[in-house]
């Protein structure tokens, strides 16, 4: 009997332990891959970079006077008071780092001289683009410790100047890789589908990537010029900048992986945030936000006259609009606007699809709405359709950066300042009259629109560059035109440049809607910056700078 017991118990234990490993090895994930390859991650690095631009644009839109609260909606706390907490605008930080993490994956699985070297170069440029934006918004950021996962759960912060220098050098490396020839039967080319920005490592694609890298470099030097820690570095670093305009972006850098108006998840993110969803339901965000009287003053003749860009950018531009709000019926010239912070009834209401969907079509037709708007390929303007691409950087910004850099007092690159300035305006006209397929479809050439514009404003040095006689006036004209060009596209650039140059000019402390873009609720309290996100204080407390307030100026600020 004792034997029976022994055998039984031992048998059970032996079976249990010997079969253990095999029996338990079932933890291989059948739902999602746990490894990947650079060629299918690079598209995400590019798309997530493009998608993260919406968080930056949203911040700039509020703080730089491009948008305000619409009637019928309340609760815009810090947008009105600028009393930012660590919970405000954290999407800029998390979105950029998420994109950087995709780029890092590509970088750690490729090398600068291996078969996937072009993947490596493109990932570098995406990473650098994100870092440049982060530093311009936050100053010091984690760089050398960043992106290492478990190895560095609490990455240390690097000084903004060190990050700037490293990013600049990395852009140079990326350019060198892209300029190196492909090795036959070795180098794997980036395909069209893997590069939603420039269609892969064709000759044309590589040229455009290099142009983008150079434009980022130029932007960094323009911004770093006045920072004491970087001034001497700028004078040496500028040696690697191209000396002709062709070396920089000549066309808008637009990411479009194939946005599709029939699939909810494949909508352009900016469109779905502001316009309609796949079922034609109007977005609440679009309905609760409106342009400001301030920004309209650059189109409607108060400061500048600009009907061509005005009607492309805004619904009902220049037309009479009637709204019944409560018991009051009001009629005004469209679009409806509201001063930031104004909340005493009647506040004008927004429209379905938002005012930034002008609905302007070439050839002209009425503003279509809902699912028809999602699909319409003839729309131009800021919000074109659900299939429009997402802007990384406008050619207008490239030209206006060059215009500033070519001013003798700046002296970063040679060039004809006025011509570059006007190219900037032309490029802005070009973008606004492109359709979703990125084709300019206005029968009137953009250069003609620019000429009309300059002529219509020939008494203002903000448009007629010949009237800008001093360097300061030239700078004001360049920056003001950039402020107009990035309206609701890369709005944060409008605020970055305002912080750096003080342009467009505002009347400090005024409550007059066209004299300042500051909130009525806090006209003297424009913030110098956003705060580091709350999670950094919770989980990276030993490293996050603690002496930063919304009044702490960034390195490039005036």
């Amino acid at each position: 009997m004792r034997n029976i017991l022994k055998v039984a118990v031992l048998g059970a234990l032996v079976i249990a332990s010997s079969s253990c490993k095999k029996y338990l090895d079932v933890n291989e994930n059948p739902n999602n891959p746990t490894s990947s390859t650079p060629n299918i991650v690079l598209p995400q690095a590019i798309l997530l970079t493009a998608n993260s631009t919406t968080a930056f644009d949203d911040f700039g839109g509020w703080v730089a006077g491009y948008k305000a609260n619409a009637g019928g909606y309340g609760g815009f706390g810090t947008e009105w008071t600028y009393q930012y907490t660590t919970a405000n605008y954290t999407g800029m930080w998390s979105g950029a780092f998420n994109a950087i993490n995709q780029a890092n994956f590509v970088l750690s699985n490729t090398s600068s001289d291996g078969p996937l070297k072009y993947y490596n170069a493109m990932a570098r440029i995406m990473k650098d683009y994100n870092y440049q934006r982060l530093v311009d918004q936050y100053g010091d950021v984690p760089y050398s410790d960043a992106g290492q996962g478990i190895a560095k759960l609490s990455p240390k912060y690097d000084k903004y100047d060190a990050v700037y220098k490293a990013v600049y050098a990395d852009l140079d490396s990326a350019i060198a890789i892209l300029n190196s020839p492909a090795e036959t039967n070795v180098t794997v080319n980036v395909t069209d589908g893997q590069d939603p920005l420039y269609g892969g490592s064709t000759a044309a694609g590589k040229t455009k990537w290099v142009q983008l890298a150079n434009t980022i470099k130029l932007k960094m030097l323009v911004r770093a010029r006045k920072a004491t820690e970087l001034a001497s570095w700028v004078t040496t670093a500028k040696a690697t900048l191209p000396t002709t305009s062709a070396g920089y972006l000549t066309d808008d850098a637009i990411v479009n992986p194939g946005f599709n108006a029939n699939t909810a998840s494949q909508f352009n993110p900016k469109w779905s945030t502001n316009a309609w969803d796949v079922n034609g339901t109007a977005s609440g965000t679009g309905l609760s936000r409106m342009p400001t009287p301030w920004i309209l003053s650059f189109y409607n003749g108060v400061k500048l006259t600009d009907p061509d860009r005005g009607k492309a950018s805004y619904a009902s531009f220049g037309a009479n609009v009637t709204q019944t709000i409560g018991l009051t019926t009001i009629t005004f010239v469209g679009p409806a606007t509201n001063q930031l912070g104004y909340d005493v009834d009647p506040v004008k209401r927004s429209v379905s699809g938002s005012y930034w969907y002008s609905g302007l079509q070439i050839p002209a037709a009425t503003r279509v709405t809902g699912t028809n708007a999602n699909k319409n390929q003839n729309n131009v303007g800021i919000l074109k359709s659900a299939t429009m691409g997402q802007v990384l950087m406008l050619a207008a910004e490239s030209y206006l950066l060059q215009a500033e850099a070519s001013m003798p007092s700046v002296n970063l690159v040679p060039g004809a300042t006025k011509s570059l300035f006007e190219s900037g305006i032309t490029a802005s006209m070009t973008y606004l009259y492109k359709n979703s397929a990125n084709s300019y479809i206005n029968p009137t050439p953009a250069a003609t629109l620019k000429d009309t514009y300059v002529a219509a404003n020939n008494t203002s040095y903000l448009a007629n560059f010949d009237l800008a006689t001093t360097d300061e006036q030239k700078l004001e004209a360049i920056i003001t035109q950039k402020y107009i060009a990035v309206n609701f596209i890369n709005s944060e650039e409008g605020y970055n440049e305002f912080r750096r140059t003080g342009y467009p000019r505002i009347v400090q402390g005024s409550t007059v809607a066209t004299e300042t873009f500051a909130s009525l609720k806090a006209p003297n309290d424009l913030p110098a910056r956003v705060l580091y996100p709350a999670t950094e204080f919770q989980v990276n407390a030993e490293n996050v700078p603690t002496d930063v307030t919304t009044k702490t100026k960034l390195f490039y600020a005036k």
């Binding site: 118990v9 059970a12 253990c20 339901t281």
Partner: protein
């Protein structure tokens, strides 16, 4: 009849004279619990030793007794001994079940059985009668108030509410805290409690702590409910048929104001005909128009005075329950067959639910050494419910008191109820919402188990057990399409009246199957004199496989046709997930008994998990406990009538909780951002990383206490102190996004639980016809978060509103943190010197703990002959709840709080304002709020955004159950030859709820699920009471 009695009399006389001084006593013995006869009861004469017999299969006995015999003593395992004076004629004896007797056999973890005397840990036994007395359809809800240490919360209301059942408080921060549920040795998902037929349950052992359940190792940390279902009883087949009908009615409705009608303006009370907000003029009985002019020119005109339709909106629900059971057994086999059909119509109009269950339990002895038991249980349920409960509830609250809400049921034909013509411009007709958003769900469950036992010798036996537990379900969720008329849109009223509803449909199917096998060897032997060994060694394998697939489309082509094939947009979205989890365990369970008073128990289990990293997937869980029966050990205490038994017990255990699903060790890649585009994939690395050395959460616990029976076993008392420490909690810690990831799964954090569980039951009065029992249980519980991690001190358990449930280091677990009033150093509310408005703090503040510190259950039963009255009441206190429906109550202006000051300007009580000259806070006696109407109550910053306004004391008293049943006396059955018994009962559940005045909202039991207890929302419909009746026939 007379003849019969006469002949009997003669027979007795003859018998008496024939056998000198002897007579024959006959009678039947039945159980007081179910009135069924008990076979095998020992019957002996008290006064004369050696005279006795046993009852037959029909419960009858016949015994010749000497003249000196005065009293018969009846004894049967599991029932209290009973002494009955000998009477002439057929004696009818009912035995009382005895759940506390030391010799009672109880089933413990792993299906092992032992006597109550040997248990070194706290357990509570709930008998079938206690479970089913109020005819609950859900086993979980039938337990509340009856078990010390148990806290039950309702996490979803409706036709089949789901409950959260926690023993000894929450201990895991983010993992499961619900008790393990074991039915006939099969570990089942806790959702089975809502589907199991309560009539099938023989008894339910509550293993309160980890120590008692330690044999389950990695699943034991939350205690366990060990459910044993009925087996066929020896004797002729007994068939029972029962029919229950219960009505369900809203028992507690939030306090709504009935003084002011539609209007939304600040500062002035202006009537607005299509307004949802109720800040208009006071009701005056005049005729007013509501809504806007319809396309045909008509408009509704109604009296401007309040009605009760917001409450009348809720239906009286109806539950019909039909039960059938058959039980029979002979010497070698037994059968128990049951069926139950439950059909429910809810209080929400149109919501329906039904459930059908079937069970077969059997045993069979093949030889003297080899026997088997088996069970099969099939359950199916069907839901037809709305998915828009919280929208519907909100829409009701956004309806002014003068609106005849119940008149709008027929939205298809009534132009004023149709979305085009409904008066409210901002909130839809709730009847339309209910009909337009619906879900049909079917769930099928099958559980099967077989046990083979081989008794090799009288001290050695083997057991092999295999079972399957599988669930299959499918569901269809849809929102119907609705196109508004061009006229409605042309009014330009609101997005509700402008936007068509595109409609959507989603379909899902899933299954989950668990296969389990277990082998045990058991040795029972007297090692040396007085020392008995009971050793079980076992090994088990468990495999859980699950899959679900879903498909969805939006934009329906046709109204009323819900199929993903018929849609406007090109794409269909789909999802799929699969998982397989395996677990392997080896365990040993050792009991040593010395004489009849000292018992030691130790168990050890080693588990291996497929979900853990290979290096750390083997975990060992030990436990020890001991019990000492003082009254058996100390000679002087033996056999005394005051202290019948006193048992001391103590135990220590380590148990676990694998709070980690399959495939949670490696970072994954996924297609996001709309990828794939045009056949091009794009994979992003996810933002979650995992500690490569993850291990299960560990709970170390101590418990100690005593059980006592006093005064001829009429008083039983039990006290248990417990103290547990749960460490290595698996927590997704937020990390710096700059690390490349945002979430990091790691072991961190510590929670302690400490408390007292006390039970007292008294047989207050007992004689042949009467028995009155009163009992109570009281639990004191404190759960505390000691730490979370070095980096974080706070974990949010919920998200979304102005206050949330958190685990916060150094505080009770869980706590409410949220926005509070800005207060001055003296604690007064700071108001703005101009507007008189208070404001919210910037950072979140402590607003209260959400787990009750005190739970008191009271129960009583009164038996008189065949009549039984039973009642259960429950008190909870020492905690706070957050009522998150502020928008519904105060934005709308329907809440009672908004008329606290008659909609007039008022001074915020106990407030102060800052005097800029002196920079000090001055008591505010004269600055009234700028507006006493919509400008204050409906506004976010001075009112609604301050969560403190909606945090109330969670205390309550509830009358949980009252039932009255009557077993018809046999004589009334008369000639009903085949009917052996008739039982009629009436019962009510949750009849009354008493809450403090400040709680204007709902039953504090209603709470968010997971671990985020303490927040109730509008997705939970108002609490209800049930009452009804049952007829049971026994054949």
């Amino acid at each position: 009849m007379k003849k019969l009695i006469l002949s009997l009399f003669i027979f007795l006389c003859v018998a008496a004279s024939a056998i000198a001084q002897e007579r024959t006593v006959t009678g039947t013995v039945s159980s007081r619990e179910d009135n069924l006869p008990i076979p095998g009861v020992s019957v002996r004469v008290k006064e004369v030793s050696g005279v006795g017999t046993q009852t037959s299969a029909e419960g009858r006995f016949s015994l010749k007794v000497p003249a000196s015999a005065k009293t018969l003593v009846f004894t049967y395992l599991g029932f209290s001994n009973q002494e009955v004076p000998i009477t002439s004629g057929n004696m009818r004896v009912s035995l009382n079940p005895d759940a506390t007797s030391l010799t009672e056999v109880v089933i413990t973890a792993g299906g092992l059985s032992t006597t109550r005397a040997q248990l070194g840990t706290a357990t509570t036994t709930i008998k079938a009668q206690q479970l089913t007395q109020a005819k609950q359809t859900n086993v979980a809800s039938a337990l509340t108030g009856k078990v010390a240490g148990l806290q039950l919360n309702t996490i979803s209301s409706g036709v089949n509410p789901s409950y959260r059942l926690v023993l000894r408080g929450n201990r895991s921060l983010l993992g499961n805290n619900q008790a393990l549920v074991v039915v006939d040795n099969v570990i089942v998902p806790s959702s089975i409690l809502g589907n199991l037929n309560p009539e099938d349950i023989e008894d339910l052992q509550v293993l309160n702590g980890g120590g008692a359940a330690a044999l389950y190792g990695s699943e034991a940390s939350n205690g366990a409910l060990i459910i044993t279902t009925k087996k066929g009883k020896k004797g002729a087949p007994v068939i029972r048929v029962g029919q229950t009908v219960n009505a369900e009615q809203v028992s507690y409705y939030p306090k709504l104001q009935t003084r002011f009608g539609s209007g939304a303006d600040n500062d002035v009370q202006i009537y607005t005909a299509h307004e949802n907000q109720q800040y208009g003029p006071a009701f005056d009985g005049s005729m007013v128009e509501i809504g806007d002019v319809l396309e045909d020119g008509s408009i509704q005109t109604i009296p401007y005075s309040p009605n009760n339709s917001r409450k009348e909106f809720w239906n009286t629900g109806l539950t019909s329950q039909t039960d059938f059971t058959l039980s029979t057994a002979d010497d070698i086999s037994s059968y128990y067959v049951s069926a139950q059909y439950v059909d429910t119509k809810g209080t929400t109009p149109s919501d329906k639910y039904n459930r059908f269950s079937l069970r077969l339990n059997g045993t069979r002895a093949f030889t003297k050494k080899f026997d088997a038991s088996y069970s099969v249980n099939y359950i199916q349920n069907r839901y037809d419910i709305t998915t828009a409960t919280s929208s519907m509830y909100d829409q009701i609250l956004q309806t002014a008191a003068h609106i005849p809400l119940t008149a709008y049921q027929d939205w298809e034909n009534d132009k004023f109820a149709n979305p085009n013509g409904y008066y409210n411009a901002y909130y839809a007709n709730p009847y339309f919402t209910i009909d337009n958003s619906r879900q049909n769900t079917r769930n099928d469950y099958l559980t099967g188990n077989v046990d083979f036992k081989f008794k090799a010798t009288d001290w050695l036996s083997f057991l092999y057990r295999a079972n399957i537990n599988t669930s299959n379900s499918s569901n269809k969720t849809r929102v119907n399409k609705f196109v508004l008329s061009a006229y409605t849109k042309s009014l330009g009223l609101s997005s509700l009246k402008n936007n068509d509803i595109p409609g959507s449909v989603s379909d899902g199917e899933d299954y989950a199957t668990q296969l389990f096998s277990e082998f045990q060897a058991n040795i029972k032997k007297e090692l040396v004199k007085d020392v008995r060994l009971d050793l079980t060694l076992g090994t088990s394998l468990r495999n859980n496989t699950a899959k679900n697939v879903g498909v969805a489309a939006s934009g329906l082509t046709f109204a009323g046709l819900y199929n993903v094939a018929h849609r406007l947009a090109a794409n269909v979205t789909g999802s799929e997930s699969n998982s397989t989890v395996r677990q392997q365990g080896v365990y040993g369970d050792l009991r040593l008994g010395y004489k009849d008073y000292l018992y030691l128990h130790a168990s050890g289990r080693n588990d291996w998990f497929s979900t853990l990293p290979i290096a750390s997937r083997s975990i060992f869980y030990p436990s020890v406990d001991a019990s000492f029966i003082v009254t058996n050990a100390v000679e002087a205490l033996k056999n005394n009538n005051v202290l019948n038994t006193l048992k001391l017990r103590a135990g220590y255990s380590t148990v676990g909780n694998v709070n980690l699903g399959a495939y949670s060790l490696l970072t994954t890649f996924g297609q996001s951002g709309g990828y794939p585009y045009n056949n091009n994939p794009g994979y992003a690395i996810s933002s979650t990383i995992y500690n490569p050395n993850l291990k299960p959460e560990k709970t170390n616990g101590f418990e100690g206490g005593f059980d006592a029976e006093l005064w001829n076993n009429r008083i039983t008392a039990s006290v248990t102190y417990f103290n547990t420490r749960t460490v290595d909690q698996i927590v997704p810690v937020n990390i710096s996004a700059a690390s490349g990831f945002s979430t990091y799964y790691t072991n961190t954090g510590e929670v302690t639980n400490e408390g007292l569980e006390n039970t007292l039951n008294i047989v207050a009065f007992r004689n042949r016809n009467w028995e009155i029992n009163v009992g109570g249980n009281y639990t004191f519980n404190t759960n505390k978060v000691v730490s979370i991690s070095n980096d974080i001190s706070r974990l949010a358990l919920s998200s979304g509103g102005t206050a949330q449930t958190y685990a916060q280091a150094g505080m009770l677990y869980p706590v409410l943190l949220g926005s509070a009033f800005q207060r001055d150093p003296e604690g007064r509310i700071i108001v703005d010197a101009r507007t008189g408005y208070p404001s919210a703090t910037q950072s979140i503040q402590y607003l209260g703990n959400t787990s009750p510190k005190h739970i008191l259950g009271l129960n009583t039963s009164v038996n008189f002959k065949g009549l039984r009255l039973a009642a259960v009441a429950e008190y909870r206190g020492g905690y706070a709840i957050f009522n998150s429906g502020a928008d519904g109550f105060e934005f709308s202006g329907s809440g009672e709080r908004t008329v606290m000051y008659n909609r007039e300007r008022f001074v915020v009580p106990n407030s102060s304002y800052l005097d800029p000259a002196t920079n000090t806070y001055i008591a505010n006696t004269n600055i009234t709020v700028r507006d006493g109407g919509a400008g204050f109550w409906s506004q976010s910053s001075p009112n609604r955004a301050i969560a403190e306004n909606y945090v109330t004391n969670g205390a309550y008293w509830k009358i949980r159950e009252i039932s009255l049943s009557y077993q018809l006396p046999a004589r009334l059955l008369g000639d009903l030859k085949y009917v052996k018994g008739v039982n009629i009962s009436a019962q009510g559940r949750n009849l009354f709820l008493f809450v403090p005045k400040e709680n204007l909202y709902t039953d504090p039991d209603y709470t968010l699920g997971n671990n985020a207890i303490g927040i109730n929302t509008l997705s939970q419909t108002p609490p209800t009471r049930f009452f009804g009746g049952t007829v049971t026939l026994t054949f």
